[in-house]
Amino acid sequence: MVRFENVGLRYGMGPEVLKDVTFGIEPNSFQFLTGPSGAGKTTLMRLLFLSLRPTRGLITLFGRDVSSLDPDEVAVIRRRIGIVFQDFRLLDHLTTYENVSLPLRILGKEEPSYRGEVSEILHWVGLGDRMHVLPPVLSGGEKQRAAIARALIGRPEFLLADEPTGNVDPTLARRLLRLFVELNKSGTSVLLATHDIALMDQFDARRLVIADGRLYVYD
């Protein structure tokens, strides 16, 4: 599903943040991405999400060489990927409900056609009574869950979550992890970036570790 071959990335003229990264991600798999803060986890996520292009090496996503994609093809591929950003990226002028339904709205779907679906997922992540409030009113944990709901509403084949438990207490972190595991069981590949060792110990899964710009895989 995803293939990295000797991928290197540098920002501008800076040092290589990622060097010779080679790995793959299979359909239906679950993996943690870990490494100390500043190691390059977010950078790797951005490569996977096509918001950065590698400075060298080859990235294949869903069988397509990403360097050959035009903007519309990038858009279509992104619809198959759900992403939860470290900083949520919710739109402050849209309600929680509208933020979460955005991936359906951009497909041109009519609001009544997805109302039930969005309501269901909001209840699933525990935001049933926060549907019609604006993000600035939400707590960190609530924003986190709204961002997760938005990433899931389009039924992605591949879910990227960047430190999704970084802003919540350990109890909620455990519940969110369970949610991702549940999602994986229903057929979605999950890549969960975290530097929380305790969280990773709760679920036995493949680990991708970044250290000094290199990626080590522990199956």
């Binding site: 999400f49 918001s51 903007p71 519309d72 858009a75 279509v76 591929i77 992104r78 619809r79 992403i83 950003f85 990226r89 919710l90 739109l91 002028h93 849209l94 309600t95 409900y97 509208e98 955005l102 991936p103 709205r105 951009i106 041109g108 609001e111 109302r115 679906e117 309501s119 269901e120 997922i121 209840h123 699933w124 992540v125 525990g126 049933g128 009574d129 549907m131 019609h132 869950r145 938005r150 899931l152 509403i153 389009g154 039924r155 519940r175 369970r178 949610l179 549940e182 229903s186």
Partner: protein, 318 residues
Amino acid sequence: MSMIDPARLDADPPARPRRAGPRGLTPIVPRATVAGRALVAVVAIMTFLAGLTIGSVMAVRATAQAWRSDVAREVTIQIRAGDPAAVAAQVKLASELAAQTPGISAANVLTEDETARLLEPWLGTGLDLSSLPVPRIIVLRLDPAAAPDLTRLRRTLTDRIPTATLDDHRGWSRRLGAVAEGVVVTGLGLLLLVATATILSVVFATRAAVATNRTVVEVLHFVGARDGFIAAQFQRHFLRVGAEGGAIGGAAAAALFLAVALLPRFGVGGDPEAPSVFTWLHPGPWGFAGIAAAVVLMACVTALTSRLTVYRTLRAIT
């Protein structure tokens, strides 16, 4: 998504029915982030100027046309002054020659009184013309259906009466036509400038709107929106701005021309002896249609320009 399962995070009672928003969904690009007011004013002013230009050009064209066809319906024969008896014979002969020419419906010899009245503006009243070498004038009415052969008539006249000249006002008519053409060309130039200024204003306003909505654009990209979808979110605001501004400007221009047309009825500026804009500045139905077209065009140009600008800005970002 079949997610009704134990992973459910809350134990809330079932969903309350969603409050049916009467105004539907919030626009993805907030309306307030598009420089609305200022741009509406710019588009309104530009449409007003375009409307004035179109209306005036149409009025000048129509007026010139009317004058030219008036002029084309008459030609005059002048017979230089000389011995009165000889002149009388020449006038008679000229009238006959003219009357025999097909396409000339009437030949009317101006009496001395009529001639005197024509000269009044230059020479004053109460003149005894008999002491002055005033030419005699024969006015020929042309049949609008059949164009007479004026060249031939002129040749015959000058052969038989060396003191006669035929004036078909062609030079004057041609000059009037040239002036009208000049006005049209100037008007087109003005419209081009107005269009350019409008497009530039919309380009700047759109760039500013995209910059203000950078986060929105980013998030839309991340959830997989195509550039076309994003452009449409901006375009709908600009279409509205263009339509509003266009309507205001177009209505103002039309109102101005209507006022010019109607004021004489209320006794303002309708004096035919003192010609003013009130007597000729009438765009006519085509002029008003042109103003309406300018309004529609302004709205479309505004929307399309913003769409293209968003496209270009997005391509520059990625």
